[in-house]
Symmetry: C2
Subunit: 240 residues, 2 copies
Amino acid sequence: MIPHDTHLNIGSLLFEGIDQIDLTGPFEVLSRIPNSTYRIYAKTMAPVRDVKGLWLTPNATLAEAPPLDVLHVPGGFGQEALMEDSEVLGWIRRQAGGACSIFSVCTGALLCGAAGLLKERRATTHWSAFHLLPFFGAIPVNERVVVDGAWISAAGVTAGIDGALRLAAELRGDEAAQAIQLHMVYAPEPPFNSGTPETAPAAILEAARRSVRGVTAQREQTARRIAAKLGIAVPALSAE
Amino acid sequence: MIPHDTHLNIGSLLFEGIDQIDLTGPFEVLSRIPNSTYRIYAKTMAPVRDVKGLWLTPNATLAEAPPLDVLHVPGGFGQEALMEDSEVLGWIRRQAGGACSIFSVCTGALLCGAAGLLKERRATTHWSAFHLLPFFGAIPVNERVVVDGAWISAAGVTAGIDGALRLAAELRGDEAAQAIQLHMVYAPEPPFNSGTPETAPAAILEAARRSVRGVTAQREQTARRIAAKLGIAVPALSAE
């Protein structure tokens, strides 16, 4: 682990069709890590829209990024368009190779998988894509935040906040993370118990699965192609 | 309450120096409310930076906003610069006058207060500004989310997610809110218990209070001037 008094370069990947809170949830934490520089990187400097239309703007291009100490890879439906993008996958591979921590949120894990980086790693992702992790050689772990050595993966969307606080503690100690948590007033009180497939009412889960069926089918096709490229035996799909 | 089959216009206020997750946390919910149009409004179309540097871009100007059914007022240190801004306060006042729900997050409550809208209302705000609520005639309630008729206020920063889910349930029913919660995988597991002044370690709270002392002192001066304008007897300050 890097000593607390060593400066850290922290970077997030931004792309069209991201689920914005995969980026902005961790942003609230990553931008407050002591003795660090945090930047958002994208293929070009053009603003991009998140899956529901929020305009987000990078700080610099992928090519301009220094070697990162911490790499953050968010997800969202737009991840699918990058699964065979050699520029983005190559960037993730290079940056991950030199980083002390790699942090995926939601289907950002699939991008790391497509870059060939999840083989035999314990990882998690959004529930709608969880069954696809074995296509990349990953060991799926149904937990909100999974730590495997330098790799931290957060399940879906808001799990990025929990993951980023875990990461902050790893990098700078518990007290630094607790100070950020206090600033963020992160003492959540969800009004319902419907945040996971295990707890959501059955009808709501069924409707949610239906609403992402098209995306899920496309992700499965892509995952099969990538598994073949990576030389991973294609697992049987037990369920969506 | 507006019937579920009536279309809703939902709008968030964006300004320089906002705390981005006051906007982006609720965005994840508000942008998914069935049968609604959600837009972000600012004084001009220019991108603005949040308090830690995230570039955010509005969808339209304040002048272009239709009469809103739901008004969302976020906070952040940048709120201070708008506390005597007649254009913004006038906009909040006009929009709140016609809205069925007004939702403040963090120090967005102070903006509503400066617009003269919190008199005798139960409300909350970020812990660092909580003692200022009486300057605007509000009744401070130390809860994470406070509902007072059409008014919903969320304490600080990430409380906006809980508040937005409460609001979604009020507007479109519990099932709509639960479906959004499932998409967001909002089943939080904070790694520490440090999200409120009551739970944070004493040394961390003290350091956090010190770090915002300058902002707090300025907010107090502004609150005194506004209290005088609103004809509210200035309360004695018991503590920061």
